[in-house]
Symmetry: C2
Subunit: 317 residues, 2 copies
């Protein structure tokens, strides 16, 4: 069932002591550049470096004692993998992470650092799902999907809840959209805790499946022609309806626009965010006339980067 | 006269509304790596991206009405230049900044953005001093030296004051050392507001003049064989005696150690600091056995970086 207000309040209570209450930052020079007041909720400072710690923790804490004892499993090459491994470690249980063999070594080390067990597979969705099914049938672990899971969605909603609690009324709240976990959670957060706030997502033009899904009314397949490598997934059957009902608009941006926004945050705010995380600010910059004078919240989704790769993107080599 | 406790309290009151009360950050993974509790005072989030905003603002606000009307001047290619231009803009007066013609375009743009007037000269100390003298004789402006000025030193002391006020008793406080403005200010801050705290500086081995000055008992000349380009100046006759009396030790570090510390902060804390700013953490890492279990404060001095240059440092090209 789609999380209601009470469910999100309970999720927040449940995870509070296991996550960081991340700071909200503002930047005078970015405000001047966009012509509105932007409140950045810094989930790049969250545990495991991304908002994913919230949803994974909420889902893991919501398991029955029997489920918990058998461990948790997922397939992910990104921040969710670390978030699951960390949640399992905190709960004193096992985690089984299916990762494509091409995943960066640093991501594997992150998972192993939390005691997660990695199962490598070919880098296709089919191979990932098959390997995960095999792991689950062998271990009895419970799958915690990165986004298509109501407990995960309720957990992600807590970032927006904290933002509203700290800065009050906002005209607009923005997130990136990949599978839609953060976006659907944020949309529910706005609906329950700041109902006059409009929800808008930014999406890479090179993987604009959510944009097309809203137009066509059905879940469209993602492409992968973008540097925003955290946003290459299609929406799920749980996230899509929430987004359909509660998200006003998706604004697409080019990779060049993403890099400009990324650089702006690094240079002006002195904080490290990952390319996917820069997408909503890129969308705001692209359409800034429409936001003039407004109070805009942006969830900065994460800060896990391969420094060499991102620096090369920024300097154009 | 060396600033006393009351002078620093008054400096803090004077500048409070013009500077940021910067956050103190901690990192569990860095604490585990060094084996002690480190409290980072994030002056990289300060106005103009560095602690220099404090000293410049205090010195500018301490001028007489007559002095203020004629403007302020300095020679600097770094963060102090922007800090002076910003202070002048706030006070509604002029700033005259002497810069070597080789200074990066981004630094010049920063100064011009605050309405500062730039006078270019050859990149030698002699040319800088001669050009500054000429500018002052023409305009009647007052020089505000980057570090060898008691009002500047009192302003820099307020960062340590804020840190003690926020986190309480520390065993050690650390800063980098270039001309010694931040170090002498921090040493006075510790003396007056946390007298049991030991003050230690980190210095690049490739410009270890402060280290040698403490050994020899006289001001030694700086070299410039380091990537920490904010720390290439020798101590001044006002900063040196304060450091001699109040700083326990200077630990020198290699450029490789600085890059390791820089990378650690970028990757683990998700914040951007400049190479000079990583020097005290590099010193702590180098001698970590001695700090085991202690509570250590580090003033993160600034976050103004040339991303291209940092990329080259990190990938070793």
């Amino acid at each position: 069932m789609i999380p209601d207000k009470q469910t999100i309040i309970e999720a927040h209570e449940r995870i509070k002591s296991y996550i960081s209450h991340t700071p909200v930052m503002t930047s005078q020079s970015i405000n001047e550049r966009v012509g509105c007041s932007v409140f950045f909720k810094c989930e790049n400072f969250q545990k495991v470096g991304a908002f994913k710690a919230r949803g994974a923790m909420n889902a893991a804490l919501s398991l029955t004692t029997e489920e918990r004892a058998k461990g948790i499993a997922t397939h992910s090459s990104g921040n969710h993998a670390q978030a699951i491994a960390r949640a399992a470690k905190i709960l004193g249980t096992k985690s089984y992470i299916v990762m494509p063999r091409t995943a960066p070594e640093i991501k594997k080390r992150g998972v192993k650092g939390y005691g997660g067990e990695i199962f490598e597979c070919e880098p296709t969705l089919q191979a990932r799902e098959a390997t995960l099914a095999e792991v689950i049938s062998k271990t009895g672990a419970t799958e915690i999907h990165p986004f298509n899971n109501y407990d995960v969605i309720a957990g992600q909603a807590t970032a927006a809840k904290e933002l509203f609690e700290e800065v009050g009324q906002l005209d607009v709240i923005m997130t990136p959209v990949g599978g839609g976990g953060l976006l659907s959670g944020t949309a529910l957060g706005a609906k329950y805790f700041s109902p006059n706030t409009i929800v808008i997502a930014g999406e890479p033009a090179g993987s604009d499946d959510a944009y097309r899904s809203l137009k066509s009314g059905k879940i469209e397949q993602a492409q992968s022609n973008t540097i925003a490598d955290g946003l290459l997934t299609s929406l799920g059957d749980k996230t899509f309806p929430i987004i359909q009902q509660n998200v006003k608009e998706i604004i697409t941006v080019t990779d060049d626009q993403i890099i400009d926004a990324l650089r702006l945050v690094w240079e002006r705010m002195k904080i490290i965010i990952e390319p996917s995380c820069a997408v909503p600010l890129a969308a705001l910059l692209k359409e800034k006339e429409r936001f003039a004078g407004k109070r805009v919240g942006i969830i900065l989704s994460g800060g896990n980067v391969d420094l060499e790769r991102v620096l090369k993107l920024m300097v154009g080599i």
